[in-house]
């Protein structure tokens, strides 16, 4: 089972690109697709979900081009879009039944599956309430449930934890880990901690182009010896930000504790610390944007 993205581009107009010669090969596991807002993550997700066509390149699912014959992928696809709606007058059971029918599931399978999914997303108690009264987080869980209806081999989730409370967020991460065994899961987000918790490999996208595709350990290794903590007076914070890439700040009585990225010791008194994925991500994005930090 593999998904090959070959030089995929999406050009909206002469100078506006959503994606530019993006290539990536995915095999079973959770791939965290990280990138800032407007980087092209949702554009890529929509192409992979067969609801948008690339203007260049190919997407191959198990040997089949999904642009030419999308139904092969659609049969085994679970897709949670970033921006989706529900029918407010239906209950979760009725809504999932409708989507199951649209996906072509027979009624017996659909019934069992819907019961399982409502338990999984913690909505069994609300199964007969109308969706119109649901909060954003509850609607998101209905969205997660619909994506899993057909036991997908390719699961694409675009910003899935938006609107979820911390507890549900942890439940969802666990669910993704459980599901990832024999399927390809693509988790698109700009929240590094979501990716850190579950991703087996990480792809960083900036301005529609792939910046890096590597395992979390490899990304952390690239940052070893480059992350520092340094207490600076508040008045010098602006100057420090202009010289270094600051990945975090914390107010202290003696000044501001800055977490920053620098190839060497930034100043006497600075202390080297273990890198995090957030440091690696910020460093990569900053480099791809050409922001000129060391």
């Amino acid at each position: 089972m593999n998904l090959i993205i070959q030089d995929v581009s999406k050009r909206y107009s002469r100078d506006v690109w959503g994606l530019r010669e993006f290539s990536l090969t995915l095999s079973p596991g959770v791939t965290g697709l990280l990138g800032p807002n407007g980087a092209g993550k949702s554009t890529l997700m929509r192409i992979l979900a067969t609801i948008s066509k690339p203007t260049g390149g190919n997407v191959i699912w198990n040997g089949d081009d999904i642009v030419r014959s999308p139904d092969g992928l659609r049969r085994v696809l679970g897709y949670l879009p970033q921006d989706f709606g529900i029918y407010p007058n239906l209950t979760p059971v009725e809504f999932l039944n409708y989507i199951a029918a649209a996906k072509g599931l027979d009624s017996r399978t659909a019934r069992t599956r819907i019961d399982e999914l409502l338990l999984t997303v913690n909505l069994d108690g609300e199964r007969n309430q109308r969706l119109g009264g649901f909060s954003g987080g509850m609607r998101q869980r209905v969205g997660i449930a619909q994506a899993l209806l057909n036991d997908p081999q390719l699961l694409i989730v675009d910003e899935p934890t938006a609107g979820l409370d911390p507890e549900e967020r942890v439940r969802f991460r666990n669910l993704l880990s459980d599901l990832s065994g024999e399927r390809i899961v693509i988790l698109s987000t700009h929240i590094v901690s979501d990716v850190e918790a579950v991703a087996t490999n990480i792809a960083v996208i900036v301005k529609g182009q792939l910046v890096v595709h590597a395992g979390p350990e490899e990304l952390l290794a690239t940052m070893r010896g480059r992350v520092w903590e340094w207490v600076v007076p508040s008045s010098e914070l602006v100057a420090v930000r202009s010289r270094f890439l600051v990945s975090g700040t914390l107010r202290r009585t003696e000044g501001v504790l800055c977490r920053l990225i620098s190839p060497g010791i930034p100043a006497p008194g600075a202390r080297q610390v273990d890198p995090s994925l957030e440091d690696a991500y910020l460093h990569l994005v900053s480099g791809a944007r050409g922001e000129g930090h060391p």
């Binding site: 929509r46 709606g85 407010p88 989507i99 399978t109 999914l117 913690n122 108690g125 666990n174």
Partner: protein, 510 residues
């Protein structure tokens, strides 16, 4: 407001309205639309051309424009901007006046384009060009009417039961009444479109030059040409204090409607939202008590999904359920009452006089067809499912056809029993045509308003007034003899293909 107007004037529906209005202007030039006043033949000078194009603008944009601008508050509601505005110190009255002016600006742009078109029309004809005389009818007749329509749209959006499809259908009848009532009552206060004051003004001028003029005045297409036409040069409106003052009525009404709307408006909060908060609180309390745990592996069983290749009975039932979602018990009671009326009493009367009302009742069910994916933003989920064309579109159409068949079944049964095969097929053709029209208009326009406006207009002219050529419900034998069911069956097939084409475009063209 500037951004709001910019967004609205870039919409597809706005461009279609401009195109259709310009086409009407062309029909004026062509002579297809004209005024009949006995044997009087108006000379197409600047004043007359301005009057004709302004009248076309008022009658067409007065109806269509309402549906175009009746989304100003809805958009704030849907985008969540309304919630932000509700939290600011801006008064509701000010908000409503802002929406009124925004609507008026959009409709004024259409009116302005028509005025420019009238100028060009006069230039192309190589006739005299007196710009003040040509533009004056737009200022005095069309713009006050547009102000009234703008206020009406704000009012309809603010009253809960007028906000949706019911309001759209009701407006059609209100519009018809607003044209007819001043002609019958001769009261300036009822003449919001200014057609009556214009007619009186012109009639007075005709009488001055042609004392034998009998007062005939009708605007429309075609008709017989007078036997002995006499040229009539109209110099433009003679405004008195009274006639000009009468044009203040629509402006006052528009403003009043917007201010009444401010009193009735829920300011983006509702009882439903309060009830939701209550339910949510209860629910969050329960979720909070759930121990955080790793999900057991067994909850989701892996399975090989056996997918049905094409539309299934289940999909049809699911579409039907979606179609009738949220309907109150009273809807079913009235629907059943109408159906019973269609199988009671004299068969000819039931078919001619009751059946049209039976088939207007489910209009709001049909109007949602093909639009729900856009309205509720479920398109990306549904279009990424296998066979979105082969499975979903036939099911949606099938659900609409099932509704049409149910409501037509009383009349169909009676025609079958009486052995009237032609009548039976005629009525069945109507049941085929309606869902095809709804689905095609829904898929291509993305809004239920298009079907609501077009269907009601068709229904009003055809089945209700028994005009055989447009009587798609075949309410009389005359319609069947005229071959109308055949024409509408062909139209239904074309529309169904158009619906497939439109959905194919939605699924593949992104």
């Amino acid at each position: 407001m500037k951004a709001d107007i910019r967004e609205r004037t870039r919409s597809y529906s706005f461009l279609v309205t401009i195109a259709a209005t310009l086409y009407l202007g062309y029909l004026v030039k062509d002579g297809t639309i004209s005024v009949r006043m006995g044997n009087c033949q108006p000379v197409a000078n600047s004043a007359w051309t301005g009057f004709m194009v302004a009248v076309c603008t008022v009658t067409f944009v007065g109806l269509v424009g309402f549906y175009i601008v009746k989304n100003a508050i809805e958009r704030d509601r849907n985008t969540g901007v309304g919630q932000i505005l509700a939290g600011t110190p801006m008064s509701t009255a000010l908000y409503m006046i802002g929406k009124l002016l925004s609507n008026f600006a959009v409709l004024s742009i259409v009116t302005g384009i028509m005025a420019v078109a009238a100028v060009l029309l006069q230039l192309f004809r190589g006739r005299d060009l007196d710009i003040p005389a040509l533009v004056l009818p737009f200022v005095t007749i069309a713009l006050p009417a547009m102000f009234f329509i703008s206020g009406t749209a704000v009012f309809f959006e603010s009253v809960k039961f007028l906000r949706g499809g019911f309001g759209n259908i009701l407006f059609f009848f209100a519009y018809t009444a607003l044209i007819v009532v001043p002609m019958e009552t001769h009261l300036p206060a009822t003449d919001v479109f200014g057609l009556h004051v214009a007619m009186q003004n012109i009639q007075a001028d005709v009488r001055t030059t042609m004392p034998a003029y009998d007062g005939e005045f009708s605007i429309g297409g075609g008709g017989k040409v007078a036997a002995n036409p006499q040229p009539f040069v109209w110099r433009g409106f003679t405004w008195t204090k009274e006639t000009l003052g009468s044009r203040a009525f629509p402006i006052g009404y528009g403003l009043a409607l917007a201010l009444i709307a401010a009193l009735l408006f829920d300011r983006f909060s509702s009882k439903g939202a309060a009830a939701h908060q209550g339910r949510l609180k209860k629910l969050l309390g329960r979720i909070g008590g759930t121990p955080l745990q790793r999900l057991p592996e067994w909850i989701l069983f892996p399975f090989e999904a056996l997918l049905r290749p094409f539309v299934s009975g289940r999909m049809l039932v699911a579409e039907l359920r979606l179609m009738v979602q949220g309907l109150g018990w009273w809807w079913y009671i009235v629907g059943l009452g109408l159906w019973i009326a269609s199988v009671s009493g004299d068969p000819v009367t039931a078919r001619a006089d009751i059946y049209p009302f039976v088939m207007i009742w489910p209009a709001l069910l049909w109007s949602g067809m093909g639009t729900r994916e856009k309205r509720f933003r479920t398109g990306s989920i549904l279009f990424s499912a296998p066979r979105p064309l082969g499975r979903q579109i036939p099911a949606t159409w099938g659900a609409g056809f099932a509704v049409a068949l149910f409501f037509a079944s009383g009349i169909l049964l009676r025609l079958a029993i009486s052995g009237d095969t032609a009548g039976f097929l005629g009525v069945a053709a109507g049941a085929f045509f309606i869902p095809s029209l709804a689905l095609a208009l829904g898929v291509w326009s993305g809004t239920s308003k298009t079907f609501e406006a077009i269907y009601v207009a068709f229904w009003y002219i055809g089945p209700l007034h028994h005009i055989p050529a447009i009587d798609f419900l075949a309410t009389t034998d005359a319609a069947v003899s005229a071959g109308t069911p055949i024409a509408f069956t062909i139209a239904g097939i074309v529309l169904l293909l158009a619906a497939f084409g439109g959905r194919w475009r939605q699924v593949t063209a992104a």
